[in-house]
């Protein structure tokens, strides 16, 4: 192990071993006006965990996801994801870092003018996979999310649940270590919401760490996973097999 990059990788692996796959160390995020969105948050998420982050609007859960994605940087404290100190990442290194993460949003964020196949293949093209690999991987992941027969459809021809499955397929096709889902069921009916949650659970069972931001009380309470509750920028509870309890 002589090369510099190998040394760095080993150091990151060691850091993950000691501090978890995701580690927030006394993180505060303030905007120009108002109270801080996150206020001294310390949090550790280990490899292979399934974690719900719950809380009302303004509790800071979306800010947390943005910090993990390096869309925002912390005002103080450090955010570590897979051993990377995210706040210190250079702009040119952000794309490489993000390729370790799969992301799913409430509004799906699909490329509207491309079909299902192209939306998923796009993630593979970014990491310069060969045409042969793309032809193998995309149908396989579409089959996993139950959309093998709809690969030619454009997003507007799909239901909300189907669009979210495409987004999931796109997030997973590059086999990320972490899947971040920001209100993935926010725009879905209960039936589709459960389908998506089952898929997330299945993905987690295959070894991917899953972090889901939600305020869907019914789902959180039924799944019996780790629940981190936030309020006004601080963590108010963190329980294994927890529940989304009404604060009021």
């Amino acid at each position: 192990m002589s090369s510099n990059s190998d040394k760095k990788r080993l150091k990151r692996e060691q850091f993950v071993e000691e501090n978890g796959l995701i580690f927030l160390d006394n993180v505060t995020k303030s905007y120009q006006t108002g109270a801080p969105a996150l206020n001294g948050v310390t949090l550790r998420i280990d490899k292979g965990e399934f974690v719900f982050i719950v809380g009302d609007s303004g509790s800071g859960k979306s800010t947390l996801i943005k910090l993990l994605l390096r869309e925002l940087t912390a005002t103080s404290g450090n955010v570590y994801v897979m051993g990377y100190n995210v706040s210190k990442l250079r702009h040119r290194n952000i794309p490489m870092f993000r390729r370790n993460l799969g992301v799913v949003f409430q509004d799906f964020r699909l490329l509207k003018d491309r079909n299902v196949y192209e939306n998923v293949a796009f993630a593979q093209r970014i990491i310069e996979k060969s045409a042969g690999e793309i032809r193998r991987n995309v149908p396989s992941i579409l089959a996993t999310v139950g959309l093998a027969g709809k690969y030619k459809a454009k997003p507007k021809q799909l239901s909300g649940g189907e669009q979210q499955r495409v987004a999931l397929a796109r997030a997973l096709v590059n086999k990320p270590a972490i899947l971040l889902a920001d209100e993935p069921t926010g725009n879905l009916d209960p039936g589709n919401s459960w389908e998506i949650m089952k898929l997330l659970e299945q993905i987690n069972e295959n070894g991917t760490t899953v972090v889901v931001v939600t305020h869907n009380r019914e789902i959180v309470n039924a799944m019996e996973k780790r629940v981190i509750a936030m309020k006004k920028g601080v963590i108010v509870s963190d329980e294994e097999k927890g529940y989304y309890v009404d604060e009021d």
């Binding site: 869309e71 490489m96 964020r109 699909l110 796009f122 993630a123 093209r125």
Partner: protein, 299 residues
């Protein structure tokens, strides 16, 4: 970058052109309109300049010699004149040649009758043509300082008028072309900017998935350059046809004009206009898309 990525990006740039066809059409129309005006203006001005230059080429200075100047002295002076930078041509006319030209003009074919000797003896002269009429004054001063020179004939007004008009055309055309270029750049950048603003969401999605700035930007830049290329090609084709038609029309309908005025052939105009239009179109497409996408890359 792998070769397949290069071809993928190239293909995406071309596909984008058709995917956003209304935006592409609007941009092509804007670039086309600006470059059409630019091209038309250039074609007219280049011809004006050519007409003035042709007129300048006809302006000459004539030098006559003092009595007793030997042929060797005249020849030596002729060589000195030819070496001057503002001189394009020097033609020697002997007094016999002058009489042979003017005699028939004034006295008919039997002009020699009644003139046993050349009445224009001693009127040997140099006819000097200038490459730049604005330097006529300097040449005349130099010629008048020569001891062999008896008289210098020239028209100060013609020279100063022509050089004045030439200068006026140069500054006016330069100014108008600069203004047109600035307007083109402004309009085209705006169109490109609006087109990319609409696709801000698409850029955001690409960045979230882990696309590098290059991967996001390259198809937009290729699209911008293609729009610029098509936007430049269309007015070039139109101006080419129009110009050829106008030349044919003038030659056919105004025969007198075509004898007097020397219009530039279509190939001469396009030897400069084609690279200019393509460079402006492609350049603006490149710079416009590059700078506008950059604004949306910090996600």
């Amino acid at each position: 970058m792998k070769i397949r990525t290069f071809f993928y990006i190239l293909k995406q740039g071309i596909v984008n052109l058709f995917r956003n066809k209304w935006y592409s059409l609007a941009s092509i129309a804007t670039i086309g309109a600006c470059l059409f005006l630019l091209g038309l203006f250039y074609a007219v001005l280049a011809n004006f300049q050519n007409i003035i230059m042709t007129a300048e080429e006809g302006v000459s200075v004539t030098v006559f010699f003092n009595e007793g100047t030997t042929d060797a002295q005249m020849e030596k002076l002729g060589q000195e004149i030819a070496k001057r930078p503002e001189v394009s041509d020097v033609i020697f006319h002997s007094d016999d040649e002058v009489w042979a030209t003017f005699g028939p003009e004034y006295f008919g074919d039997d002009y020699a009758e009644g003139f046993p000797e050349n009445p224009l003896e001693g009127e040997d002269n140099y006819e000097i043509y200038l490459s730049d009429v604005s330097l006529q004054g300097a040449l005349v001063t130099w010629l008048e300082s020569k001891t062999e020179v008896r008289k210098v004939n020239y028209s100060e007004m013609t020279a100063s008028t022509l050089s004045g008009v030439n200068l006026l055309i140069f500054y006016t055309s330069g100014g108008i072309i600069l203004i047109l270029l600035a307007v083109s750049i402004f309009l085209i950048s705006n169109t490109v900017s609006v087109g990319i603003q609409v696709r801000k969401e698409e850029i955001n999605i690409m960045k979230y998935i882990g696309a590098t700035d290059f991967f996001v930007r390259a198809p937009f830049v290729i699209e911008g350059m293609l729009i610029g290329l098509v936007g430049a090609a269309i007015p070039l084709v139109i101006i080419h046809s129009l110009y050829q038609y106008a030349l044919d029309y003038i030659v056919e309908r105004f025969t007198v004009l075509s004898g007097l005025l020397n219009f530039l052939p279509v190939n001469t105009i396009f030897a400069f206009l084609t690279p200019l239009s393509v460079a402006v179109g492609v350049g603006i497409g490149f710079i416009g898309s590059m700078s506008t996408v950059r604004r949306h890359l910090h996600v």
